[in-house]
Amino acid sequence: MIVSFDELKLKDRYKIMSRSIIPRPIAWIVTEGKGVNVAPFSYFTGLSSEPPTLIVSIGHKKEGSPKDTLANIIATKKCTICSVTPQQLKQMHQSSQSLEYGQSEAKEFGIHTKQVVEDYPPMIVGSPTALFCSLYQTIDLKGSKTVPVILKIEKAYMDDTLTKEGFDIEFVPVGRVGKEYCICDKKIVP
């Protein structure tokens, strides 16, 4: 079957993309605005190690306004991206809900955060890694309300108990496959 994306409804494009681009890592992003905002995004990947950059695509709220995460990144130029473990799955999922601006997901869903790097948003307690990023560039998708954001990694946190010599960190991450989540616990050594 060959389908033309120009002729597809938005929801069908999403279905095909979200079930073909798999598994997708989850960026659990912490930003600061009126309060501490926490939200997960799965249109997310690394871009380059030099400069150390990654990209995350941030959509819009149902009524069309930018998501708080995007508004906060543009305002403060900073964010913290945390990895997600199976133990954090429920809270991560809950934090995907759209709340009123200024209402904190961290407070609403009992997500504990801790300040580990000065001048950056806090990280989520229990996340094995956190990337402290600055805004590098936003991309205009010509009329789309989705805004891809390139972020530069300035500092990284790694849980010492999971990190071996030479920055080798081992943990079981949660990813996104279609409309489901997956626990990536099987590795194949090439």
């Binding site: 999403y14 799965s42 429920k90 999922h93 809950q94 995907s96 996104r176 409309k179």
Partner: protein
Amino acid sequence: MFYYIDTVTEKRFGEAMDLAKQMLEVCEDESAPVIEGLISAANSLECLKMGEFDRVEELWNAFEESKKFLMPQNRHYALLLETTLVLENIKEEIEKIV
């Protein structure tokens, strides 16, 4: 029923369940299985919203089963059909949120 649709659209599924339970007490016999399905659907969506994934499918399947009782001769057919479509759209919306 309109309140039920509103609460579902606003993702206040607990309230939607309560409304459907109230409807169940006063509805005609022919609508009862469909209304029971609306309770299951709202319950399923609440579980999905809160990340209680174990019960989502079972409850949603109960809703899907209840649609068999949705007949054109039912006095509230159009409204019930519209409600099921709203539920399906909201489920899709929640599923694609991350």
